[in-house]
């Protein structure tokens, strides 16, 4: 049996950071990832933060990847952060940039598929120096202990022995389940995230969001856009795409099930978001059915080809790097020349094939994933024997108001797990006791753990300062009163202190309610908001079209087995599965696993596994 010092399960941003950090420490590690491409199953919003907390320490992404700041394919540095309260066509906005900048070095918008690939290249190259590396397409199905041996079983490879294991296998951690390290997360400990990536040329993004090519904006939404669920929406600017999505408390969704497909549509239909995503979209004319078959095919091919070159030219014209590239390549002498070519292509499309340009939007990817709420579900002891859990697998996600952080937390955890093991290897003390204790202690020192445990009064103050000018009478009196009280420094310090003694468990049901997430924002919007009208009717793709755009490698064997076909929970999955994998017949729920995007929503009452090696979903954006 082959043996490695460390085996890491899962190649999301957390597992990859563990591999890189172990290599930074000169230790041998291999990383097993079930996806055919590393990182292609991860979904994020996402803004990747680097933090500089005053009191505790954290390990940031740029500490792990030394060339992150110069080379990493991040999208834009977020410099504007705005919270919108919505009610129908009314929107009330508050600038929360100071909350976003609070104790932060930076926050970049990122698309995880691209970024994880870069992380993987860096980590793999370092790991190879010590006889390790990344092995994609391998699904870990079991871990067993035999005397002092730790044996890892996979669907694809012969057994592997390891001195220690890092489980970074995401929110639906099978490792946690198999080893009994923790129970499955309950819906109250989870959020469902749904997202679409929308294509939009760089220059239009710059202009529409009032940012330069490097900078970006984050817009957050609360109010009726969540269709009365606890949660919120977001629009993040990437280089030449927008990430539009929402995260909703799973409990709240189970109480009042609405399809994820509809949740995202509700966001898109909000007039402010509709205006954010709109673009010029070519629309083909119906081909004359009286023409010969050959001629019809010829026209179809030629139209597609012409539209494609129009699109490529337009994307290039409307982006600084695209223009430079075309001019440098010698294809065009100047920007004007490219523009002339673009309008000539446009005329050709119209004159030859009747293609018209209409205002609409272009969706390129639909995705969904559960996110753990660390305030409620975080593993108190994130280890079992010599297996250390990091990131989503350990339930370590931060949700506070508009704040969603998981990427930075998972990276910090990974460094701590890697350092714990590296120290143990150096001291030759790999006892389970030592590993678990050291890792737990290290996590306790993390700023993020603190964030998951208690309210930070300075962060709270930023919100209250922003809300200062809101007339008190406008908020349902309960909240008006609270804001009034909390605006006073002494009273605030006192009440936060008191609240923290009470603890999140008692506090959360009060703070995270339909009232705070939906009613108050709606009231704000209704009474103070500005009316926004959308200038077009968007054509929202059908669910079949959305699924059709995704890349799947089908497995004949289902990775999910329904074990309670008649349970209430399972019946709700018929609505809550983002890709409609469930249907009901004779009062029994059945699964069609082929369209499963491994979001994890149905995890609680199914026998749920990730797909076997290289199977299942591969995201392009993530």
């Amino acid at each position: 049996m082959e043996k490695y010092d460390v085996v890491i399960v899962g190649g999301g941003s957390s597992g990859l950071a563990a591999l890189k950090q172990l290599s930074n420490r000169g230790k041998q590690a291999i990383l097993l990832e079930s996806g055919g491409k590393v990182g292609s199953k991860s979904v994020s919003g996402g803004i990747l933060y680097s933090k500089k907390p005053k009191k505790a320490n954290v390990h940031n992404v740029e500490d792990v990847y030394e060339n992150f700041l110069t080379d990493a394919p991040v999208e834009r540095k977020i410099t504007k952060y705005i919270l919108h309260s919505t009610s129908k066509d009314k929107v009330f906005s508050m600038d929360l940039t100071s909350a976003h900048e609070y104790e932060a070095n930076f926050g970049y918008s990122v698309l995880m598929n691209k970024l994880n690939k870069w992380f993987a290249d860096q980590a793999n190259e370092s790991a190879q120096k010590y006889g390790g590396g990344i092995i994609p397409g391998v699904h870990v199905r079991d871990i067993k202990w035999d005397g002092d041996k730790t044996i890892i079983y996979t669907d694809e490879l012969e057994e592997i022995q390891a001195s220690a294991v890092i489980a970074s296998d995401g929110v639906n951690s099978e490792i946690a389940n198999i080893t009994g390290a923790r129970k499955k997360f309950s819906p109250s400990e989870l959020y469902q995230g749904v997202k679409v990536v929308v294509k939009l040329p760089e220059d239009i993004i710059n202009e529409r969001f009032g940012v330069s090519s490097q900078d970006g904006a984050a817009h957050l939404f609360a109010g009726d856009v969540t269709l009365n669920h606890i949660g919120g929406g977001f629009v993040y600017t990437n280089k030449n795409t927008l990430s539009v999505g929402g995260v909703y408390h799973l409990d709240s969704l189970l109480e009042n099930p609405v399809e994820p497909y509809e949740m995202i549509n509700a966001l898109l239909k909000n007039p402010m978001i509709s205006e954010f995503v709109k673009d010029q979209v070519p629309v083909k004319k119906e081909i004359d059915k009286n023409l010969s078959k050959e001629e019809q095919i010829r026209i179809r091919f030629a139209t597609t080809k012409l539209i494609k070159s129009w699109q490529e030219t337009r994307d290039a014209v409307l982006s600084s790097s695209g223009r430079d590239r075309l001019i440098k390549s010698g294809k065009y002498a100047s920007e004007d020349e490219i523009r002339t070519q673009l309008s000539s292509l446009q005329t050709q499309m119209a004159d030859k094939y009747g293609v018209t340009l209409e205002t609409d939007y272009v969706e390129v990817e639909y995705s969904a994933k559960l996110i753990p709420d660390g305030k409620r579900g975080r593993m108190k002891n994130p280890f079992i024997k010599n297996v250390l859990f990091t990131g989503d697998a350990a339930g370590r996600g931060i949700f506070i108001g508009p704040k969603i952080e998981g990427l930075n937390v998972g990276i910090d955890d990974a460094v701590r797990a890697a350092n714990t093991i590296a120290d143990a290897l150096e001291k030759n003390n790999l006892s389970h006791d030592n590993l678990g204790k050291s890792y737990s202690n290290s996590l306790e020192e993390s700023h993020y753990t603190k964030d998951m445990k208690e309210i930070d009064k300075d962060y709270l103050k930023i919100f209250l300062d922003t809300a200062k000018d809101i007339p008190r009478d406008i908020l349902s009196s309960k909240y008006g009163m609270v804001i009034k009280l909390m605006s006073n420094d002494t009273l605030r310090n006192f009440s936060v202190g008191f609240a923290n003694i009470l603890g999140y468990e008692k506090l959360l049901p009060l703070v995270e309610s339909e009232e705070t997430y939906v009613k108050v924002p709606m009231e704000l919007a209704d009474r103070l908001g500005e009316k926004i009208t959308s200038s077009y009717t968007m054509s929202i793709p059908s669910i079949a079209t959305r699924i059709g755009k995704l890349n799947f490698s089908d497995d004949e064997m289902s990775h999910i087995k329904v074990i309670k076909p008649a349970s209430d929970f399972m019946k709700k999955m018929v609505t809550l599965c983002p890709t409609r994998c469930y249907s009901i017949e004779n009062d029994k729920v059945m699964i069609q696993h082929e369209g499963c995007i491994e979001c994890g929503t149905c995890y609680e009452e199914t026998d749920w596994k990730h797909t076997r090696g290289e199977k299942g979903i591969t995201y392009q954006y993530g």
Partner: protein
């Protein structure tokens, strides 16, 4: 230190038969100028079989093809798959019009010009554009190598210098038979279409990933690894190659007449429950009348 394995792969440029890429002349022959060329699928498998030896035994791999100057692009594709150390393009006007025998003669000369003495030569099962599968055996015969066809799996004993191979044999009326054979090197292997390299230990997979990356890097600079050889440089006997060395005469190519459709397709709306119900009922009915032998 064991002598490393030396491997050659012969690959073939083929028209891309996927939709929209293939084009025919009015007389039914292939319009080569209009049709896109790609590395044939069987050739790609042969390249992946060589990659297996690279990963398992650190083999030195050379790839060769006969074709026009732009066939270097399919060598690039093959290098991407196999992480070849060298690639060879045998290109000369006088090669045109060669049948399988003329091609085999040329490939023999080409393989002998590659660096080192070959232990293993791989070819695809056959090409998909008209050739009927003789090139492999004919080249093996000309080289004087043992020929193993329809190979679905192989292992090399680098020390004893033997190869053990599994061959899939299809005989009418029988199920697939798997024959296991052992032969001393050098051996010529024609890879079966169902071949798939399997790496089942972590260290093999790590090596596989490492070589894949090397292959990517190499393929990006493929010209650096490429040698182009003409007839003279190959030193092939002009009487045995090209049209002169080809006894076959193509008499006539006929279009396969379109059969009268015996079945009628019906378009079903997949989102309609009733329509899908009807489909299920029809399928049930069809299945119930089927006799399972």
């Amino acid at each position: 230190m064991l002598t490393p394995l030396n491997i050659a792969v012969i690959v073939k440029l083929e028209p891309d038969f996927s939709e929209g890429n293939v084009s025919y002349n009015p007389d039914g022959t292939l319009n080569r100028a209009e049709t896109k060329n790609i590395l044939g699928p069987h050739s790609a498998l042969a390249a992946s079989a060589a990659f297996y030896s690279k990963v398992r035994y650190g083999a030195h791999v050379s790839i060769g093809t006969m074709g026009p100057p732009n066939a270097d692009l399919i060598l690039q594709s093959a290098q991407q798959i196999s992480d070849a150390d060298e690639t060879y393009l045998f290109s000369d006007r006088i090669f045109a019009g060669a049948d399988t025998l003329g091609t085999a003669e040329l490939l023999k000369a080409g393989i002998q010009k590659m660096q080192g003495k070959m232990d293993l030569v791989f070819s695809g099962h056959r090409a998909s554009d008209g050739e009927t599968g003789q090139v492999g055996p004919q080249t093996a015969w000309k080289l004087g190598f043992t020929f193993l066809g329809n190979v679905i799996d192989y292992e090399v004993d680098v020390e004893k210098r033997t190869v053990r191979a599994k061959r899939s044999i299809r005989l009418q009326g029988f199920h697939d038979i798997i024959e296991e054979v052992e032969a001393p090197l050098p051996v010529f292997i024609a890879i079966d279409p169902s071949y798939k390299s399997v790496f089942n230990t972590a260290s093999q997979r790590l090596a596989c990933e490492k070589y894949k990356k090397e292959a990517n890097d190499r393929a990006q600079n493929f010209k650096q690894y490429l040698k182009v050889l003409n007839a003279e440089q190959l030193g092939a006997d002009p009487k045995l190659i090209g049209l002169a060395g080809s006894p076959t005469i193509v008499f006539k190519v006929e279009k396969i007449p379109k059969g009268k459709a015996g079945r009628q397709a019906e378009v079903v709306d997949g989102s309609s429950k009733e329509e899908m119900g009807r489909v299920v009922a029809r399928l049930r009915q069809a299945l119930s009348t089927m006799v399972i032998k």
